[in-house]
């Protein structure tokens, strides 16, 4: 794995001593990032995602494990010996330098010829739509412009990997989505490897080729956005990503890839993702609100799980309608397109075993 990966962390742990004892900011983190991949580290604050990024950037040295960049071990190398550049959450633009000087900084440090520096900075200003702003100070720019300067500066010396630490969090919600698309396009154009830290699951799902979900310093699951969303590997990931309905039950029977589970006296068919559980085990099932069919389509469908219920509440959220439905297996949240929804109080519900996940413990 080490050879093909552009970034490879092998069993990396970072420990901070505190008065209460040692805290693992990252615990036994192993990830491999492939060339040209948009790889996200997703987690809430304190999950270890930023620590992991700092271990790759060289701002922290891990107590255990090793860090490889481009097939070379760099575990104890300082940041300036690593072919990765970072876009900081605060952008960290040098306030005493102009925009052009900021962008030129890595080239100047590398002692590039003056003519080449000028040319590449011009090119970069054009590419990031910063023409005519080269002589301004960072403080005279808007948040979005500052962010583009930070990107331009990090990319000008063409590093192998770009590390991004919540680069959109300082932007207004309005332009965030726009910049998100620009980032994705930029990554596809340059074919660079991006490692992207975020706490925003929507951002991670929209942008990433692969996501590593982190919690308490540990990697919980690595997968494509679809794998993470459709086949969460644990209750934590299922709860963290998107909305979901959960039921507790006991296993009645297992048949290869599916299992029948008794939930409050109703038999529910679910898909196995991990090891096959034993009969009688207490397990948790998950089904996403938009995978539950409602009304006529629920009755006619040849679905594995069919129930009926009473609508308890209806919430209008624009394009979608969110319904709370009381069923024999408990209260279910169901989302439907608001244009086609049937709002009769008595409802039939159904969903396929394929959309219902039996979560490993």
């Amino acid at each position: 794995m080490r050879d093909g990966s552009v970034v490879y962390l092998e069993g990396v742990s970072k420990i901070y001593p505190t008065k209460a004892g040692e805290i693992f900011a990252a615990r036994d983190v192993t990830i491999d990032v492939q060339p040209g991949e948009f790889y996200s580290l997703l987690g809430s604050s304190g999950s270890g995602k930023t620590t992991t990024l700092r271990l790759i950037g060289g701002f922290e040295i891990p107590e255990y494990g090793s860090v490889w960049i481009g097939g070379e071990e760099v575990t104890e190398q300082p940041p300036y010996r690593r072919d990765v550049h970072t876009v900081f959450q605060s952008y960290a633009l040098f306030p005493h330098l102009t925009v052009a000087e900021n962008i030129a900084y890595p080239l100047r440090i590398a002692k590039a010829a003056r003519a080449e520096v000028t040319e590449r900075v011009e090119e970069s200003l054009r590419m990031f739509q910063l023409e005519g702003m080269g002589d301004r100070r960072p403080s005279q720019l808007s948040g979005g412009q500052q962010q583009r300067v930070a990107l331009a500066r990090a990319l000008i010396s063409r590093p192998k990997v770009l590390l991004l630490d919540e680069p959109l969090s300082a932007l207004d919600a309005k332009i965030r989505e726009e910049v998100r698309q620009e980032l994705r396009d930029l990554q596809k154009q340059t074919n660079l490897t991006f490692i992207y830290v975020t706490h925003d699951q929507e951002e991670a799902l929209a942008l990433s080729d692969r996501i590593a979900v982190m919690h308490n310093g540990q990697v919980q699951q690595i997968g494509t956005p679809k794998q993470i969303y459709d086949r969460p590997a644990s209750l934590f990931v299922a709860q963290f990503i998107g909305k979901a309905n959960f039921f507790n039950g006991t296993v009645l029977e297992t048949t290869g890839e599916t299992a029948a589970v008794d939930v409050n006296g109703t038999k529910i068919w679910a898909t196995l993702t991990g090891r096959s559980p034993s009969i009688g085990n207490a397990v948790t099932l998950m089904v996403r609100p938009e995978r539950v069919r409602l009304g006529e389509s629920a009755k006619t469908a040849e679905a594995d799980n069919q129930l009926s219920g009473k609508v308890a509440s209806v919430t209008y959220v624009g394009q979608l309608i969110e319904l709370k439905v009381e069923t024999p297996v408990g209260s279910l949240t169901v989302t439907q397109l608001s244009s086609t929804v049937d709002l009769s109080p008595e409802q039939s519900l159904s969903w396929n075993a394929n959309d219902c996940i039996l979560l490993p413990d």
């Binding site: 940041p79 300036y80 970072t86 605060s90 960290a92 633009l93 040098f94 440090i109």
Partner: protein
């Protein structure tokens, strides 16, 4: 067409008592200095009022006074050297306190500030005893060392304050973009704290320039300007002293304003 408005209500109260009190405080602080300036232009041979007429004779006399010029030159040399030492070591100390967690860090900080907390007499006597036990002869150099000791905390203050405001991410960004430690300091940290260094140096300079108490103990053959003035006050008191004092006051005020401006410009 005019609008027929009702009588306007006064919503801003005039704080007469506060104004009066403020004027009183400022008078208490600055009347003596104003008097001194006044006397320096007074056409009378005694260092006192009443005002008998305007003259610049005392200034001419001061400029023509060779021992006075010599002591001014001594003071400038002492202040310059003491400033260089104080600022240099202040910068190093500020860095140590800012950057490293080490045993006794807080005690170190307090110890550095002791020279300005202790009475000048104590510092003076202590340094005199120390230098004579080392067998050092008193000279301008002993004065320079003495001034550097209390100049250090003065220079340290603004530098450390500015350093603690320095966003660590700027330093990390520079490392990240390929800069080595010396390049990071030169290209990123130094420009950020430059104004504080200048301001600390100017403060150390003014303090050294008019210091008397510590200087008394450390002076050998050569006098600094304040020592010369002090010496003359006991023998011949003429408004020439007032003229010199006014000039020193002007220069000191200028330097302090300059240091404030330098800081304000960079941090504004």
């Amino acid at each position: 067409m005019s609008l027929n408005l009702p009588r306007k209500r006064h919503t801003q109260q005039q704080p007469w008592l506060l104004t009066f009190w403020t004027v009183l405080v400022f008078a208490f602080l600055y009347l003596p200095i104003a008097t001194l300036i006044f006397i320096s232009f007074n056409d009378s041979a005694i260092l006192s009022l009443p005002f008998k007429g305007f003259t610049v004779d005392w200034y001419e006399m001061a400029f023509g006074d060779r021992p006075l010029r010599l002591s001014l030159w001594n003071s400038l040399q002492v202040a310059a050297m003491a400033t260089v030492l104080a600022t240099g070591f202040g910068l190093l100390a500020a860095f140590a306190i800012y950057r490293y967690q080490f045993f006794g860090r807080n005690s170190f900080r307090i110890a550095l500030n002791l020279p300005i907390l202790l009475p000048g007499v104590v510092t003076g006597v202590a340094m005199l005893a120390y230098f004579s036990s080392l067998g050092l002869e008193l000279s301008l150099w002993t004065i320079i060392l003495g001034h550097a000791v209390f100049g250090l905390p003065v220079a340290l203050g603004p530098i450390l304050t500015r350093l603690t405001q320095f966003p660590r991410s700027l330093e990390e960004a520079a490392y990240d973009l390929g800069a080595k430690p010396a390049q990071v300091f030169r290209g990123v940290i130094f420009p950020y704290i430059r104004s504080a260094i200048v301001s600390g140096a100017l403060l150390a300079f003014t303090l050294s320039f008019d210091e008397v108490v510590v200087t008394i103990f450390l002076t050998g053959r050569d006098d600094t300007l304040p020592m010369e003035i002090w010496g003359r006050l006991r023998t011949d008191i003429t408004p020439e002293i007032a003229a010199v004092a006014t000039l020193v006051l002007g220069a000191s005020t200028g330097i302090v304003l300059l240091s404030q401006w330098v800081v304000g410009r960079d941090e504004g």
